[in-house]
Symmetry: C2
Subunit: 208 residues, 2 copies
């Protein structure tokens, strides 16, 4: 397995490959052809081959992929054997929804700190996790060994918050603010865009 | 322009192409080569060509794409010239976050009704939109000409709610419940998976 740097988009695709393989494995499939995988995943076989080729040779020509082996390899590649500490900055509706997301602990994602500016919220807990004053973001994030900062503050606060997290060594940013965020090259960022889902529906409905 | 049925994954990619072209256009770019577009979008040139080829011939060999023309074409293709009525079923944190999402009206997405089972919520308003009793989901959705149902109820309620919406003619489902939802072929569904973002970060961080 090589450790090449690949794009966020490619990692996003590998996450989808991983989840599909897990479902296949649970339903008892042993081998899957690249053609069938392509159909299930809705990417071209070339795209899938190119993405997987970053990590080595998985498929056997004319046979396909061993479902369990490939699932295991992708799990390792994705770092899902580790656990990660998350801090959510901005305890609005979206921040709360993420703090309450049940599937995260089982995948190794642990929300360890919440931050907000509101005096009414500071000191309270959500799902057993304390809400800290955003004033102390840097020092608390450092003390709690935060790996990933979840940005659910208003747009005009997002870059400021990210800068504080990056300064204390946070290496992953999951950004929900719809604004362009700048991070140094050693920091990874994933930008969420709530508009993609309904736009895909808009496409499908306008064809009816 | 042909009206072929394409996959949700392909539509998702076209939404990304559209948003990137819009940014390019706003920054004054007139023409973009397929190589540069591929690099920006993080998909192979083959994948982009294949996706766009569903709708006709856009690029000029050896020159590239006309940014404004392609953006306009994709806007039409995606149905963004229409407006769509959304109903959010389940007024928890995620439902509230979506009800308050500021970018939607500008894209033609209008939240016209909210639904919940909680007696404390029914009759109240969020962002000027009334919360109705989920008991009346079918009749209110019909009366309000709902196009897209946003599913933010607990997992075990999701299929039941979708069935009611489908029965009164709702043609689009935006599902946030982490469970497999079945819809008839004439209904489009987009499933959101909150775990993709942090898993992409897990990948990047485990390589550091």
């Amino acid at each position: 397995m090589r450790n090449k740097k690949i794009s966020n988009a490619a990692v996003g695709r590998i996450v989808l490959y991983y989840r599909t393989l897990k479902t296949l494995e649970q339903s008892g499939e042993k081998i899957i052809s690249s053609g069938k995988l392509s159909k299930l995943l809705e990417f071209t076989p070339e795209q899938i081959r190119q993405d997987l080729s970053y990590f080595g040779q998985f498929g056997v020509k004319g046979v396909g992929y061993d479902v369990e082996n490939l699932r295991r390899s992708l799990e390792n590649i994705l770092g899902l054997k580790y656990s990660w500490n998350l801090a959510i900055v901005g305890v609005g509706n979206l921040g709360r929804a993420i703090a309450n997301y049940k599937a995260f602990p089982g995948m190794g994602f642990f929300v360890n700190a919440l931050f907000d500016v509101s005096k009414d919220l500071i000191g309270k807990k959500i799902n057993g996790v304390k809400i800290y004053d955003s004033e102390n973001l840097g020092s608390v994030a450092k003390r709690k060994f935060i790996d990933i900062g979840v940005i659910t503050v208003p747009e005009d606060q997002a870059q400021k918050v990210v800068n504080v997290l990056v300064d204390v060594g946070v290496k992953g940013i999951w950004n929900f603010a719809s604004t362009k965020i700048f991070v140094p090259p050693e920091v990874s960022i994933v930008n969420e865009d709530l508009a993609v889902g309904p736009t895909a529906l808009s496409y499908n409905l306008s064809k009816k």
